[in-house]
């Protein structure tokens, strides 16, 4: 009797095809300010926050703080409502879906950066207490690192928490001391309550995620050295050297193990085990069927081979891949300076310096400032990829 191989093979293909999930793809142009809004509107909902993050960062560098505010507010709403039953997260934990099936909110360093950017915009809008709330949340997002030494160890959010508190009439010294204790090798300037010009700086390429391990189940962070390692601010007769206060790549790579890494590890073991069982059953079953002249033995052999095939299919369908979606336009370093300026127009320049202290001429930014009142803070945000000149 002829053994029906073809229907069995077809059945396997149908099962695999039936499990495949098409995803909505968005054509990318490479311009975040085009791709972001397009992906937010038409892309997979689970990537919405990722594109909101990217769009907000790009918008801030173009001086479009309204767009950044809108994107960050929506992203932070998603970020704050992740408790309880979530189908996407459940799917990400299952054997047969990758981690990237969950709604993206980012790793703690990415969530912290979302709050830091939003805090800067709140301060710009004159809402110091909401800015402080964001800096506190930035620190909070980083507070469950596996190694407690690295929990809540951002410098700038603590420093700004204290500065906002002091400017609001409170005592910001606790936060200042905390920030100073975290600042490795940097002496933080004491709070100057007359400083009405606050300059936030960011520079260098930020961290990226990549997958490692046999099945891509391990999440790793790739960092590259920054061609810019410090900056210099010039305004009126002032020349202010600015060292980095926070290293975003350091924050990204010091979180330690995640609970999800354990789940992905289990998935990888399951995938490996089912694959091995499949190999053994397939080879053993086919060998038994081929070696025997007894029909019953042949059928048993083929049955074992079929079970092996099923095990191989299950193994193939198991997806232990880590989520490598990355907020890919983050900076390497953050820094900050503040100083008093009298009311009136001023021209502020920011030079970004290489490790030897030379200014990288093509990165110099010019900002035309109009200080309307000495008692109202003027907040300036400058990135090494900012548009120049800007008028604030």
């Amino acid at each position: 009797m002829k053994t029906p191989w073809q229907p069995t093979l077809l059945a396997m293909l149908l099962i695999v095809a039936g499990c495949a999930t098409p995803t909505s793809q968005v054509a990318l142009t490479g311009n975040v300010l085009v791709d972001g809004p397009n992906a937010i509107a038409n892309g997979p909902p689970r990537d919405r926050v990722l594109w909101q993050y990217r769009t907000a960062a790009a918008a801030m560098r173009q001086g479009n703080f309204g767009l950044a505010r809108q994107q960050l507010d929506d992203a932070i709403r998603t970020l704050g409502g992740i408790y309880g039953n979530d189908p996407g997260a459940r799917k990400a934990r299952s054997y047969f879906h990758g981690e990237d099936k969950k709604t993206f909110i980012g790793e703690p360093y990415e969530r912290s950066m979302a709050y830091i950017y939003r805090g800067i915009i709140y301060w710009m809008d004159g809402e110091r207490d909401n800015a402080r709330a964001c800096f506190r949340s930035a620190e909070f997002e980083d507070s469950d690192a596996e190694n407690r030494e690295y929990a809540g160890d951002w410098v700038l959010p603590d420093y700004l928490d204290g500065l906002a508190t002091a400017k609001l009439g409170g005592d910001g010294m606790d936060a200042f001391k905390r920030a100073q204790s975290l600042a490795r090798g940097v002496k933080l300037p004491p709070y100057n309550l007359k400083a009405n010009t606050l300059v936030f700086l960011e520079f260098g390429p930020g961290p990226a995620k990549f997958a490692g391990g046999q099945y891509g189940e391990e999440l790793h962070i790739r960092t590259v050295p920054s061609p810019v390692t410090s900056a210099r601010i010039g305004v009126d007769s002032l020349r202010i050297p600015v060292a980095p206060t926070d290293d975003v790549s350091f924050q990204a790579s010091t979180r330690g193990g995640r609970v999800m890494d354990h789940i992905l590890g289990n998935k990888a073991v399951f995938k490996s085990t089912t694959d091995t069982i499949g190999n053994v059953a397939l080879i053993g079953g086919i060998a038994t069927a081929a070696a025997s002249r007894d029909q019953t033995t042949q059928e048993i052999g083929l049955g074992i081979a079929l079970a092996g095939l099923v095990s191989k299919v299950v193994s193939a369908a198991t997806t232990p891949a880590a989520d490598t979606r990355t907020w890919d336009n983050l900076p390497h370093y953050l820094s900050f300076a503040c100083f008093p300026l009298p009311a009136g127009p001023h021209v502020l320049t920011v030079e970004f310096l290489d490790p030897s202290g030379r200014a990288l001429a093509n990165l110099t930014k010019t900002i035309n400032l109009n200080i309307t009142a000495a008692d109202r803070d003027k907040v300036v945000f400058v990135s090494d990829s900012s548009a120049t000149p800007q008028t604030l």
Partner: protein
């Protein structure tokens, strides 16, 4: 007797075809028939919840404060309605919020439930009010009373408050405690004539996929 392999093959093919069509029918589509609009009461927790300040907290706190203010003798026994100016609330929590929403709701509650007992002054509209008064003084627009007489009222009391929080995150989850404190300050003496507070604590644990 049918061969064992053929016996296995037929149901397997059936299951595969069913899986194929089931997979195609729902793949990539979440809530294919949509989710109808759900009306929620502002004081109930919705299906989208975090550990931060939410509408049910606002309703609970503002209602409590409005009831409490009306009971104090300075307002309950006043012969003429005291004038109150709202001062911004100080948000000391880790949650960025529209903090004025608390005072707006307290004011709305007091104005609707205890009409005439308290008068709120629209200090946030002073620029427009002064502009209108100047137009009247210049005769550019009509006036129902002598515009040269100063009628803008001074405050008897300032109503303000603060939101303070304690936040904790461990492997067991996230916990946020918020103390909502409001007080009424006598504008003449600087004395605090009324103060009340409400406390809300929330805890949650994210899905393991986010930990």
């Amino acid at each position: 007797m049918k061969p064992l392999f053929a016996k296995i093959c037929v149901p397997l093919c059936g299951v595969a075809v069913a899986a194929f069509f089931a997979g195609c029918a729902s793949s990539g589509v979440k809530n294919p028939s949509g989710v109808p609009v759900t009306h929620m009461n502002a004081d109930e927790q919705g299906f989208v919840a975090g550990t931060g300040v939410e509408s049910q907290d606002l309703v609970h706190v503002a209602d409590k404060m409005a009831r409490s203010i009306l009971d104090i003798p300075q307002i309950a026994n006043a012969s003429t309605a005291p004038t109150v100016v709202l001062q911004p609330v100080d948000n000391q929590t880790r949650f960025p919020i529209n903090k004025d929403i608390f005072l707006t709701r307290i004011r709305a509650q007091l104005n609707s439930k205890a009409r005439g007992k308290v008068m709120f002054l629209a200090r946030n509209q002073m620029e427009a009010l002064e502009k209108e008064r100047n137009l009247k003084r210049e005769g550019a627009v009509t006036a129902s009373a002598n515009p040269m007489v100063q009628e803008f009222k001074g405050a008897d009391y300032f109503l303000t408050g603060s939101l303070q929080g304690i936040s904790t995150r461990t492997a067991a989850g996230t916990s946020d405690y918020i103390l909502y404190d409001f007080h009424l300050i006598d504008a003449r003496t600087s004395g605090i004539v009324w103060e009340d507070s409400a406390e809300i604590k929330k805890q949650g644990l994210e899905d393991a996929a986010y930990r």
